[in-house]
């Protein structure tokens, strides 16, 4: 995977670069998804940071919680009926004590689904094609285009430089 990119010091210039790339993507025939944006920290409130997507997928967590609750209920009731052993003059699976276990598994379900949705959503763990540049960790924002066509490489560089980058770099090959 070959990436042509440039480093911008602050979010505003990065935003301009991204807008420029968006504008130029049709005629330089590369797709919007090929635009690569990497930053060392989240930049809230900028378009390029997809922060406008307001959909907060709590749905998955609630769904996971429901699964957890189901598992809790099945676990506590079916197991007692499988081998009924009476204790303390209580019913086999009293509602109150089973409720505690159902509650715990509900929360466990929620937590695990939160974790899973993160990993799926952020397409982790993927070890291929990790773009590395030490400067990201110094507050710079990397904007670039992945695998531009030979023909449009030059135009992409101009576009990046036009937005205010000092230089255009190239990243190629598989990360170590």
């Amino acid at each position: 995977m070959k990436v042509l990119y440039a480093l911008y010091a602050d979010p505003e210039t990065a935003q301009r670069a991204v807008d420029a790339l968006h504008a130029a993507c049709s005629e330089l025939n590369f797709d919007e998804r090929q635009i690569v944006i990497i930053s060392g920290e989240p930049h809230e409130g900028y378009d390029f940071a997809d922060s406008h997507i307001t959909r907060r997928p709590y749905g998955w967590a609630v769904f996971g919680a429901a699964i957890g609750a189901g598992c809790g209920y099945l676990l506590t009731t079916l197991t007692q009926r499988a081998y009924p052993i009476f204790t303390g003059g209580m019913p086999l699976s009293p509602m109150w004590t089973d409720g505690i276990i159902v509650y715990e598994l509900t929360m466990l379900g929620a937590i695990l689904t939160a974790l899973i949705t993160l990993l799926v959503g952020a397409k982790l763990p993927n070890f291929k094609g990790v773009i590395k540049d030490p400067e990201i960790w110094l507050g710079k924002i990397l904007v670039g285009v992945a695998d531009p066509l030979e023909s449009s490489q030059q135009d992409v560089q101009e576009c990046l430089l036009g937005a205010g980058a000092a230089e255009v770099k190239q990243f190629s090959g598989v990360s170590d």
Partner: protein, 235 residues
């Protein structure tokens, strides 16, 4: 109708001779723990004779009270056991499955009567004392909680015998080791579901009371209070 084993302890007959304590040790392989362990409060007794003083010289009063597992119907020790070592059997006993016990000791803390003994070390019977061990009862190892089982091995063998002879268990045919050895007949064992058994008759006497019955544990051991001399008529 399933049996519901119960015991009546007549405090007016109990003389505090502790024959029941030794009979229980002999019948159920309860170990002796030696002087040092006994000194830190680890002597193991499934039935103990509690003694309490009242008043002072020259007329002190003493009260003996044998205390053993009350086989409660709503036993606080059963619900808290995580592995069903402590549970309620079909015959109204508070069962203790030694193999399931992992030694959390929660049951002993939950029991208001403190009648559960714990094997802090592997019990040892120096040869040939081990020849005395009763083969009908298992020998518990370190880390296991044990308690009075109403001599469940005697109950089981009597039931198997009765079933072999295709008849019902007669009242008095089956008794626990402590009730068998009690000279003054203070301990009477029997089936509470059988209305005309001796234990049912005694349990309905007007002297009957439960040890700490107000805790709601519904014990199956009934204590007959010790009447004063004058009211001999309403025994």
């Amino acid at each position: 109708m399933a049996h519901k084993w119960g015991l009546v302890v007549d405090l007016d007959r109990c003389t505090g001779c502790e024959a029941c304590v030794v009979a229980c040790h002999a019948e159920n392989n309860v170990p002796t723990v030696g002087k040092d362990q006994a000194a830190i409060g680890r002597a193991m007794q499934w039935i103990r004779v509690e003694r309490s003083w009242e008043g002072d010289f020259p007329n002190p009063k003493v009260r003996f009270q044998p205390v053993l597992c009350q086989q409660c119907d709503a036993a606080p020790c059963e619900a808290v056991c995580p592995t069903y070592a402590s549970y309620h059997t079909e015959e109204g006993l508070n069962g203790q499955a030694y193999n399931r016990c992992i030694g959390t000791r929660f049951c002993a803390n939950a029991c208001p009567y403190t009648v559960r003994s714990f094997n802090f070390f592997n019990p040892s019977w120096q040869k040939p004392l081990n020849l005395q061990l009763n083969p009908d009862v298992s020998v518990r190892s370190v880390g296991i909680m044990e308690k009075c089982t109403f001599c469940v091995q005697r109950i089981k063998s009597a039931e198997i015998q009765a079933e072999a002879e295709k008849r019902d268990l007669k009242d008095g045919e089956l008794t626990t080791a402590c009730a068998q050895s009690c000279a003054s007949k203070a301990l009477v064992f029997g089936d509470l579901n059988d209305p005309n058994s001796e234990v049912s008759r005694l349990a309905s006497s007007n002297r009957a009371a439960k040890l700490m019955g107000e805790l709601g544990t519904k014990p199956n051991v009934t204590y007959l209070d010790r009447g004063a001399w004058q009211d001999a008529k309403n025994s």
